[in-house]
């Protein structure tokens, strides 16, 4: 694979990874998860 393509695909993969992490981070703001926090804090 040529170097420019390698950089391009690497950049796309990195951007998708960041997007995935942001989406997961946002998922932590779900009210249901928030309500159930007591469960997690109780038993690890």
């Amino acid at each position: 694979m040529k170097a420019p393509w390698r950089w391009f695909l690497g950049g796309v993969a990195a951007a998708l990874a960041v997007l995935l992490l942001v989406l997961i981070f946002m998922a932590y703001q779900m009210p249901e998860l928030l309500l159930d926090w007591a469960n997690i804090s109780y038993c690890g």
Partner: protein
């Protein structure tokens, strides 16, 4: 490096498969707490009944890790991971059907604990360590550790979504199906690898040799402190923040920040371990943890200070994993790496148990977490002092293997 594995089992493939297994295994385990409320409500159990099984799971996980590691060292990681994955799946399915506290203890506690011992760090780090060169080993262990961290971060919201959508029983079966994916992946780890340098050494001799080395004890107690701090902070930080006048939402975001920064921290310290002294990086992690906790205690509580503390602790969270496992491989060689890292991990789990329990006990006795935070700082300083004299040089016997 392995010379007997088939050609398609490249180090890169083994690393990717190891990461996926750790993501699934650590991630599903992290959702256990989400089932407390629905299960106790449906069965009419007390919270103590539920939490006892999870505490049992943590202890079984730690106690079984050296044995799972020894099995992997003797019979190969593939078979060990396969067997453990099946136990893990069986444990989750039986957990969904458990009608009494005893069957719940046996499924969620014993079976899932045994499953975890064979599908997490001791076994997976061992097989990854054996398939990488000393120059790249620490980075590879860091990437694998980041995989486990990603699982903890990512699967928790998925678990909650499954419970909300399908109910807790179906959610457990679906999570079991996810863990079941580990079984076919185990084939890629079936390397049948037996490094030659320490071939003449028995399990007992390897344990006696490690037990006779001060550095091994320092690693054990350092990991004990790591377990104490991470369990205490993960369990009690949100409550502490709420007690300090912040909202539960801020506590939840703090947990998410720990998970997010943990991914980067695991990778960075794994990468750093390949370039710098692993022992010095461990000293740095434990010293920075002490400073971070101390500054957090001294500064006035605010949203910014809570989130900054969570981000810093996240960076320092599982950075100890690639460094500690890498040091075991570096000092004692690869032949019994899984078993010896399993023994050190037992220290981590004992610390976790104590950190989780003692944090609550101190709060109940004194009405505040101050003493527990002070203990976390003191232990961090102790771990810093313990890590400083670690001798990183390979033992003369294992020098060729490492």
């Amino acid at each position: 490096m392995n010379t007997t594995a088939t050609h398609w089992r490249t180090p890169t493939l083994i690393l990717i498969v190891g990461c996926i297994i750790l993501t699934l295994s650590m991630g599903v385990r992290h959702t256990a707490g989400l089932f407390l409320q629905p299960m106790t409500a449906d069965h009419g159990w007390s919270r103590e009944t539920f939490s006892f099984a999870i505490a049992l799971q943590n202890l079984v996980w730690g106690l079984a890790s050296p044995f799972a590691g020894a099995l992997a060292d003797r019979h190969g990681a593939g078979r060990t991971v396969l067997g453990a994955a099946l136990l893990y799946v069986l444990g989750l399915v039986l957990m969904a059907q458990a009608g009494s506290p005893l069957t719940f203890d046996l499924s969620a506690g014993v079976l899932v604990g045994l499953g975890l011992s064979g599908t997490t760090f001791a076994v997976i780090m061992g097989v990854i360590g054996r398939h990488t060169t000393p120059a790249k080993r620490s980075l590879a262990l860091g990437i694998a550790s980041a995989g486990g961290s990603f699982g903890q971060f990512a699967v928790l919201p998925v678990g909650q979504m499954l419970i909300s959508t399908y109910g807790w029983q179906s959610a457990l079966v679906l999570l079991a199906a996810g863990v079941g994916l580990i079984a076919p992946l185990a084939w890629a780890l079936a390397d049948g690898h037996k490094p030659a340098a320490a071939a003449g050494q028995s399990v007992g001799e390897a344990l006696r040799e490690a037990g006779g080395e001060r550095s091994f004890h320092y690693l054990f107690w350092g990991y004990f402190v790591c377990g104490f701090q991470t369990a205490f902070i993960m369990l009690h930080l949100p409550s502490y923040l709420v007690d300090s006048g912040l909202s539960a939402n801020i506590g939840m975001t703090a947990v998410a920040l720990i998970g997010l920064f943990n991914i980067f921290g695991s990778f960075i310290f794994g990468w750093g371990g390949g370039r710098y002294s692993k022992k010095n990086l461990l000293v740095l992690i434990y010293a920075l943890r002490a400073v971070a906790i101390l500054v957090f205690m001294l500064l006035p509580m605010s949203t910014a200070s809570a989130w900054a503390f969570a981000a810093v602790m996240g960076l320092l969270w599982l950075g100890t994993v690639p460094l500690t496992n890498g040091l075991v491989a570096q000092i004692f060689g690869l032949r019994y790496m899984s078993m010896l890292t399993g023994v050190v991990f037992l220290g981590h789990q004992l610390g976790s148990f104590l950190g989780a329990w003692l944090g609550g006990r101190i709060f109940d006795e004194t009405g505040a977490y101050f003493l527990a935070w002070a203990l976390a700082v003191g232990l961090s300083l102790l771990a810093t002092l313990c890590s400083w004299p670690i001798d990183e040089k390979p033992l003369a016997r294992s020098a060729a293997a490492a």
